[in-house]
């Protein structure tokens, strides 16, 4: 134990000062961080532990006129991924592989999405609308892969599927450019927006405001608990004038026709309410929300956004004849009893104009001329009336102009006549009058225009601007907006002329070409049409209105089946189903499938029983 002199205590002193200085520095730093900057650090800690999970607001519902929801919301499971803060040991690849297997998706694409979420440090939806089975399988992944979670959300749901597709529209994802534009309005990158029809037009009303859950997450991104909740605001509800039953009958009926392509429009002649508007081919809006990307892809590829009911312009063919007839009768150029001999053709200036029935109709007057749709009768009627009067009446019925329905893409069709020709400095010939009188030539109309025109015949002259919104019920308590009914024009014709035309249309059903739409117990009046089409098979038309006996007509319908052939056989059954649906009647044809043939006695002129007059 050697002891070598005194120890240099002054050095120990210095050592102590160094230690004390170090303690002081640490203490000051602690005071700075915990007392001065505490608020900032607390904010950082808060940002760390909380993760916002957006909750889609339930979109406003769309109801039909009877309160049946035609677009609503259903709870659906979404798979989300929350990137953890502590990613040092987090490998995304196995997760992408596993999810790819479970969801049947490309793992590379999933990996890309996961990596994007990690880069942006925000939650991401990996899959939406998961079926329950998949949901149960995926919920096991939660325990294995931190950050994966399932949340329940309100998702758009169209209970009827393929139903008024073009009117309702569908929900789709935004392109990145659209998203940048809509970002200020609170849209998120995975928000869906209305892409067509009402969903698009009333996007702002239907959308509501998204809410969110502030969740506590751990470093790996596992959800721990809800910290607080920002309640969402549901979207506003839209009430339509559409009658779901009629609409369904129209959609199903058209789809069941030979070609499955066409359009059907139903209007309430009393007030211009749109009761149904169908365009085929249509689409299932639910398919866009499918979990299967292949299904979504094929739906998008096959998507037919073209609304035949308002955008398709077709020659009206014989369905124009009531209008031509009204012009003739009202102008007094033709008397109902004037008869015409139809040998099956008509010669004018060296040209031969054929009747559709080449065998001819022999002697026909107004009622049978209309009931049998005799072209020769109408050629002569046209010549007597003159193109100008027919054109004027047609214009009064709203042909040649857009109806002004609040939908995008509406066409006005094309009306031709001496007036129109004069504007373009072209001449008008008698041959043109013949074509106009039977609704051929340059004349084109939309199914919607025809429905309005037939409604105007039913209500004796009122041409409506069709409306399809009854009211918008705002979720935030704003007063409901009720869309007013608009009268667009009036067709003035003599009462006797209206009587004759209506009677004629009734005879078309009872003993003419429109027998396919006959319904016992109802007053049905209509006109078939077989429009010649230069591109192929004839288009089948049928326009009709119906009433309970003694009541005003409450439905007017136009049905067009593209390349459907004869209107009476192809288009009339569709209209018939719609009428039955409208009046809430069982289909008598279902129990009594054989419609009795027209009695031969009725084909003779003068033997027609006069049905009850409308109004």
């Amino acid at each position: 134990m050697s002891r070598g002199g005194a120890v240099p205590v002054e050095r120990l002193e210095l050592l102590w000062y160094v230690i004390a200085a170090m303690g002081l520095v640490l203490g000051l730093r602690l005071a700075q961080m915990q007392l001065v900057q505490a608020a900032e650090w607390r904010l950082a800690a808060e940002r760390n532990r909380s993760q916002m999970i957006h909750q889609n607001a339930p979109r406003g519902r769309i109801y039909d006129r009877n309160g049946v929801a035609v677009a609503t919301n259903a709870p659906a499971f979404s798979l989300i991924f929350l990137p953890g803060k502590d990613r040092r040991r987090q490998d995304l690849n196995p997760l992408a592989q596993e999810l790819g297997r479970q969801l049947g998706r490309d793992p590379d694409e999933l990996l890309e999405k996961l990596e994007q979420a990690v880069r942006e440090e925000s939650a991401i939806r990996l899959a939406e609308n998961l079926p329950t089975q998949t949901m149960f399988r995926l919920s096991e992944l939660k325990t294995i892969y931190p950050g994966v979670d399932l949340i329940v959300e309100a998702r758009r749901w169209y209970p009827f599927g393929r139903f008024a597709s073009h009117l309702l529209g569908y929900m789709g994802k935004m392109s990145s450019r659209e998203w940048r534009e809509r970002k200020p309005k609170g849209y998120r990158v995975d928000s869906r927006t209305g892409r067509l029809g009402l969903e698009k037009m009333f996007e702002d009303e239907l959308r509501g405001r998204d809410g969110g859950l502030r969740m506590e997450v751990d470093a790996q991104g596992r959800l721990k608990r809800v910290i607080d909740k920002i309640p969402f605001e549901a979207g506003s509800n839209v009430h339509l004038t559409i009658d779901a039953a009629v609409q369904k009958a129209a959609d199903d009926g058209l789809r069941a026709t030979a070609t499955g392509r066409g359009a059907a429009v139903a209007i309430d002649p009393r007030n211009g309410d749109l009761l149904a508007m169908s365009s085929q081919p249509d689409f299932d809006p639910n398919a866009f929300l499918s979990t299967d990307p292949a299904e979504v892809k094929s739906t998008v590829l096959e998507l037919s956004e073209f609304n035949n009911a308002i955008s398709g312009a077709y020659p009206p063919g014989s369905t124009f004849k009531p209008i031509a007839g009204l012009a003739a009768l009202s102008e007094g150029r033709v008397k109902p009893d004037d008869s015409v001999n139809c040998p099956g053709y008509f010669e004018l200036g060296g040209r031969t104009f054929l009747c559709w029935d080449h065998k001819g109709h022999h002697r026909v007057s107004w009622l049978m001329g209309l009931a049998l749709s005799c072209d020769v009768y109408f050629y002569q009627l046209g010549l007597k009336t003159g193109g100008g009067a027919i054109e004027r009446f047609a214009r009064d019925f709203g042909l040649g102009q857009a109806t002004g329905i609040a939908l995008k893409g509406e066409k006005g069709g094309h009306l031709f006549g001496p007036e129109t020709r004069k504007k373009t400095n072209k001449g008008w010939y008698d041959g043109d009058t013949l074509n106009l009188a039977i609704g051929q030539g340059e004349l084109t109309v939309t199914p919607l225009q025809m429905a309005i025109a037939v409604a105007a015949i039913a209500n004796r002259g009122t041409v409506w601007r069709p409306r399809y919104i009854q009211k918008i019920v705002y979720a935030d308590g704003r007063p409901d907006v009720v869309k007013p009914v608009e009268r667009r024009g009036v067709v003035s014709a003599k009462d006797a002329a209206w009587d004759e035309v209506q009677r004629g249309l009734e005879v078309v059903i009872t003993s003419g070409t429109g027998g396919g739409a006959r319904i016992p117990g109802l007053l049905v009046a209509g006109k078939t049409g077989t429009a010649q089409n230069p591109h192929g098979e004839d288009h089948a038309w049928f326009v009709v209105y119906a009433a309970r006996p003694g009541e005003p007509a409450s439905i007017a319908i136009s049905v067009l089946v593209e390349n459907g052939g004869h209107g009476g056989t192809t288009a009339a059954p569709v209209a018939r189903k719609m009428i039955l649906a409208h009046f809430g009647m069982e289909d008598p044809a279902a129990t009594r499938p054989v419609i009795p043939k027209m009695p031969a006695a009725l084909t003779a002129p003068g033997a027609v029983p006069v049905p009850g007059r409308l109004r």
Partner: protein, 450 residues
């Protein structure tokens, strides 16, 4: 020592034991255990951690009491044996140790795992104290410093081999503190440790340049500095510059008639050049994770998710604790797993978050009391050996405190240095309590050997 004598020693001791010191140790263990157990509560092996902690604590307290019981000078008598033991355990670790996180630093014995490096450090302190005590008469000689370094080097190299850079680093303040307290020549000491410091800071400068100016042009200053790392003409130019600098200072001082031996001026370029060259060598051998730690320290914002993650999360934890803290078991940073190594190296950050400023200042205060009592023990020690042991242990403990707390507060680079008595770690706790027992022993026997 007979049994009867031992009992008498104990009863005689109680009056001379430093109760303030023991109170500080107890306080640190209590507050530290609370923080550590709260932080560990979310880990998978909580019950196992709990068990190991209390076993180590019981053993440690026993060891502390036992160490207090017999005269500390036994350690000086047996210093050769202790030194041999130090070499043996670190060598055994390299041979028998298990690899964990890339380091072979754990020995498994009878179902317990043990990290011998810290024990080796205390043993080296004891052996070095004996050497410096016996060198008292020739303390100013350069040979004293060099021999002392030669004594420490084998153990340090073996620890570095594990490779455990952080623990090796904690040897440095112990050695420096003891040599300084022993009274070695200050110039020599500063020159040698300055050389070491330069050799460490050269790679640091390189790393700074690489981060701050990653695309530095060749003719810019950082570009030139980086060029010297490639052992080419730039390195030679730098050495030439150092020589010119030495020459300049020499001419200047002789012109100003400063009385310094010319040899001192020759030392300047030699020291600088040697430091540069060894710095380059260190730079080339720096492991990826070690470089990342530097990066995290220098530029925490550069890569939040990578190396700097720990630093940022630890600072958020401490800062968000505020004055009163979030309460034990309710810190979001630690309980939700954002804070890494929360019951081991970053336990202080957990304490800061959950107990706030009062908790951290309590720990810091207790530590300062502890250090003050160790320094007092050194001053009052009855012999030079005790004085040196206390000085060495005070330096080590202070350095560990500065490194660990400084790391949690973003003042120091991330180094795997635990906070003694507070961080979880059975062998660390055991060794620390044993070491503190030696200090208590030295203090208790300041007047008489008993």
């Amino acid at each position: 020592m007979t049994m009867a004598r031992a009992v008498r020693v104990q009863s005689g001791l109680s009056g001379r034991v430093d109760w303030t010191y023991i109170g500080a140790v107890a306080g640190l263990i209590i507050v530290g255990s609370l923080a550590m157990l709260s932080a560990a509560s979310t880990t998978t092996f909580y019950s196992s951690i709990l068990q190991k902690h209390f076993i180590a604590l019981t053993l440690g307290i026993t060891l502390f009491t036992l160490t207090l019981a017999f005269n500390y000078q036994v350690f000086q008598d047996q210093s050769k044996f202790l030194y041999g033991m130090a070499i043996m355990i670190v060598a055994a670790t390299l041979i028998l140790g298990r690899i964990s996180r890339g380091q072979r630093s754990w020995v498994h014995l009878f179902g317990f795992s043990f990290q011998p490096a810290e024990m080796a450090r205390t043993l080296v302190v004891l052996a070095l104290a004996d050497f410096l005590d016996r060198r008292a008469r020739r303390i100013q000689d350069l040979s004293t410093i060099l021999t002392a370094l030669a004594i420490c080097a084998p153990v340090m190299i073996l620890v570095l081999k594990q490779p455990d850079f952080s623990t090796t680093l904690t040897f440095v303040p112990a050695i420096f503190g003891m040599m300084f307290a022993a009274g070695v020549d200050t110039f020599q000491l500063i020159a040698i440790f300055g050389f070491g410091g330069l050799a460490i800071s050269v790679p640091l400068i390189y790393t700074i340049c690489q981060i701050r100016w990653p695309a530095a042009a060749a003719h810019s200053l950082p570009g030139m500095i980086l060029a010297t790392s490639r052992m080419g003409w730039a390195t030679l130019a730098a050495i030439g510059l150092f020589c010119a600098l030495g020459l300049l200072v020499w001419r200047l001082s002789s012109w100003m008639r400063v009385q310094v031996k010319p040899a001192a001026f020759a030392a300047i370029p030699i020291l600088l050049s040697a430091a540069l060259l060894s710095g380059i060598v260190v730079h080339k051998h720096l492991k990826g994770y070690q470089r990342n730690r530097f990066v995290a320290w220098i530029a925490p914002e550069s890569d939040v998710q990578g190396a700097a993650y720990n630093v940022i999360q630890s600072q958020i934890a401490v800062g968000s604790g505020g004055m009163w803290g979030k309460g034990l078991f309710s810190g979001t940073q630690s309980q939700l797993g954002f804070l890494p190594e929360r019951h081991t190296d970053f336990v202080f950050a957990n304490l800061g978050e959950e107990m706030g400023f009062w908790g951290t200042s309590l720990i810091l205060g207790l530590y300062m009391v502890l250090l003050w009592r160790i320094v007092s023990a050194a001053r009052l020690a009855r012999d030079r050996y005790g004085y040196l042991v206390c000085a060495g242990l005070a330096s080590t403990l202070a350095f560990q405190l500065a490194l660990n707390v400084g790391m949690c507060l973003g003042l120091m680079p991330v180094a795997g240095v635990p906070l003694p008595l507070v961080s979880y770690g059975g062998s660390s706790l055991l060794v620390t309590l044993w070491t503190l027992g030696i200090v208590a022993n030295i203090y208790a026997r300041r007047y008489a050997l008993l």
